[in-house]
């Protein structure tokens, strides 16, 4: 059968609408990472924390799921081992464990957003939210910026090993500076070439863009968005001093 881009685009449609994913990232960042809300919010936060992992499973992102769980286990493991550790180690474990348990869940949610949303879907969603191009375009570049920076970073680390510049070597104090110099030059260069290419393909025109992806709210979006609303409502009620349970 001949290739049909329309059929394959439909088959690739993500489980959730990008707007739902954005709302979830926001709620997780505020309540789980930012720590808004007191005692009453605890059970809600636990439920929220499980969400990104369930979503990763739903989209068959096994690698990301395993990595997220491993980081979380490590974090709780460190906190659990706390009473048995002496002095400096105790402090280090407290710090690492604290950071991991607090940040991992939200980071995993962000990863889920980036991994399962195409640039086209993202732009489409932002247009539905009536965001101006001045915000949409820089944000959509982020999707490809991280992998690009990652690749450059790995290449520079290799080059440093080749030159014999190691952490803990003779020139340890300057290692960071050495990494940043080529990093900045190449990021600026890539950014410039990227903009030039996008402009020659008509980005930023006055005509209304179209999008080949189909986005839209389905039952699963409704359920999760309702969940987000409930969390916010519960928090407001708590602030007003209403006892919920």
């Amino acid at each position: 059968m001949a290739y049909s881009s329309e059929r394959s685009q439909e088959a690739r449609r993500s489980f959730l609408d990008p707007r739902t994913k954005l709302a979830l990232v926001l709620v997780l960042a505020l309540f789980v990472m930012g720590g808004l809300g007191a005692e009453q919010m605890k059970p809600l936060k636990t439920a929220l924390s499980a969400l990104p992992f369930l979503l990763l499973l739903a989209e068959r992102q096994w690698g990301r799921f395993a990595r997220g769980i491993a980081m979380l286990v490590l974090g709780y493991g460190l906190l659990f081992a706390l009473p048995y550790l002496p002095g400096v180690l105790n402090f280090l474990a407290l710090m690492c464990g604290g950071i991991l348990t607090r940040f991992v869940v939200t980071v995993v949610m962000g990863e889920y957003l980036i991994a399962t949303t195409s640039v086209s879907e993202f732009i489409s969603a932002m247009e539905h939210l009536r965001m101006p191009q001045a915000i949409t375009i820089p944000m959509s570049v982020m999707f490809r910026l991280f992998p690009t920076i990652g690749a450059e970073w790995r290449s520079i680390r290799r080059a440093m090993r080749m030159r014999g510049i190691h952490l803990g070597g003779a020139k340890a104090s300057q290692v960071l500076e050495y990494q940043l110099v080529p990093m900045m030059t190449s990021t600026v260069r890539i950014g410039e070439e990227l903009s030039a290419s996008a402009l020659t393909r008509g980005l930023g025109g006055s005509t209304r863009r179209t999008n080949i992806c189909r986005i839209g709210f389905r039952a699963q979006d409704a359920v999760l968005l309702l969940g987000c609303l409930l969390v916010v409502a519960a928090w407001i009620l708590e602030l007003c001093g209403v006892k919920l349970w």
Binding site: T185, L194, T200, L203, R209
Partner: protein
């Protein structure tokens, strides 16, 4: 279709501009014509393409004199997104011309920007995928494609946008022989469709017989235009005089050179083995291999044959890599090889870290070297970098960066030098300069291994050859 009348240009404002990048250029390209722009580095061929697609002056500011017309309309006064409907561009660097992360989105991008309805975009995409045989590349993550595949996607996205004029800015610079041939096929399809094509290239052999006209530039002026019989009658000497590369396409695999000769001093690689986690087959598996020491050896092979893995394994950069090297009476394990070998990467800029050329060499010298400053300066003199001691390494030209990286390798006492595609995107003169540099290094006693798909470089300086296959 495209018309440049008395065009002069300089980057920056009139006051700062020391010299013009283009001087009184007159060029008319008919609809359906395929024109090659070539000439030594800095001759202005990329500048001409930028004037046609409107990046000059809208993105790269400068002073433009004369007229540039597309279909009779002035480019300077058109908005970039309007020009985009008429002109599509494929750029040199496969890594930095994508806006999307997935290939399908990338193909649709130009049409989406023009606001075409989705059904129309889908049918255009299916058409392009069919003609370019891209089925295997669709719905893929662009970051996982090879450079050759990325360049194909770049061509395909220009094709989907359906512009009448297509500009190619050194599209083959990062490609191996096989990928270049595939690119050539795509261009032939465009020719049959009657597209107007302008290509700026140093490597001219792969499209020499396709073009209708070759425009040769030097220092911002058109010095010659060649067509038909005149173009085919050029001798190697004529080409060299104009600073051009050869016009016959030669597969690096076809060049006959031995890997070792009976009276060579050799080094012996034993049980070199590397398998990436999750991969079914090893990337490198060399039970025993002899290479010539103190010689220049070319390493050839298709993209993806494992040349880069082989090099990383050899210079000890790959932690999972196993195997030993016997060299000049000593045995080197992986860690020891890190202090014996040095790899000059394709992106030389990523290998230079400090704020001055001199400091770059100083940090490479072993700790406790006597007369550090004198030693470093002597090395820089040998490599013709004496005049640049205080310059910032990132501000040097490509060739100078390459020489500086080599100076660092020599300063740290490495005896084996590996180079990864040192002449991609270089013109004839600079390619010959690299060849002479490699010969100079060999005469100093260094063993040189060059991974390359540049047949001209191999002919110019390599004495031995190793071919890597899957």
């Amino acid at each position: 279709m495209v018309e440049l009348k008395n065009v002069s240009f300089s980057y920056g404002s009139e006051a700062q501009a020391l010299e013009r990048n283009l001087k009184n250029v007159n060029l008319t390209v008919q609809t359906g014509e395929f024109v090659l722009l070539t000439g030594p580095s800095g001759c202005g061929k990329t500048t001409i393409l930028r004037l046609i697609n409107g990046l000059i002056p809208h993105f790269y500011p400068g002073t433009v004199e004369g007229e540039i017309c597309l279909n009779g309309q002035h480019v300077e006064t058109r908005e970039l997104y309007d020009t985009a409907k008429l002109v599509g561009t494929v750029f040199q660097n496969p890594r930095s011309q994508f806006y999307n992360v997935d290939t399908t989105g990338e193909l649709a991008f130009g049409c989406e920007n023009q606001g075409l309805p989705a059904e129309e975009i889908f049918s255009r995409m299916d058409d392009t995928v069919g003609r370019f045989s891209l089925e295997k590349l669709m719905d893929r993550n662009i970051f996982r494609l090879s450079d050759g595949e990325k360049q194909k996607i770049a061509c395909a996205s220009v094709d989907v946008a359906g512009t009448q004029v297509i500009l190619l800015d050194e599209p083959s610079a990062n490609l191996d022989y096989a990928s270049t041939l595939e690119l050539r096929e795509l261009i032939r399809l465009w020719q049959k469709q009657g597209k107007t094509i302008l290509a700026a290239e140093h490597r001219i052999a792969w499209l020499w017989d396709l073009i209708d006209r070759a425009v040769i530039l030097r220092d911002g002026r058109i010095v010659r235009e060649l067509r038909g019989a005149e173009k085919n009658a050029l001798s190697a000497q004529d080409l060299a005089d104009m600073g051009l590369r050869g016009t016959t396409m030669e597969a690096p695999e076809k060049i006959q050179l031995p890997t070792v000769k009976p009276d060579d001093e050799t080094m012996l690689l034993r049980d070199l083995y590397l398998r990436y986690p999750g991969a079914a087959a090893p990337a490198v598996d060399v039970p025993e291999l002899r290479l010539a020491a103190g010689r220049i050896t070319a390493i050839t092979g298709e993209n993806g044959a494992g040349k880069t893995s082989f090099l990383s394994c050899l210079c000890g950069l790959e932690r999972r890599g196993k195997g030993t090297l016997e060299y000049r009476g000593r045995r080197y394990d992986r860690r020891a090889r890190q202090r014996l070998c040095f790899m000059v990467m394709q992106d030389t800029g990523n290998q230079l870290f400090t704020e001055s050329v001199l400091e770059e060499v100083l940090i490479s010298l072993p700790k406790g070297t006597q007369n550090e400053q004198e030693r470093a300066k002597a090395l820089l003199r040998q490599l013709d970098l004496e005049d640049f001691l205080d310059r910032h390494p990132q501000s040097l030209s490509g060739g100078q960066k390459q020489r500086l990286a080599i100076a660092c390798a020599l300063a740290s006492g490495r005896e084996i030098l590996l180079l990864d595609e040192p002449t991609s995107g270089l013109d004839h003169a600079h390619m010959m300069e690299t060849a002479r540099l490699l010969q100079q290094l060999r005469d100093m006693g260094t063993t040189v291994l060059v991974v390359t798909h540049d047949a001209e470089l191999i002919c110019a300086c390599c004495e031995r050859k190793l071919e890597i296959t899957k």
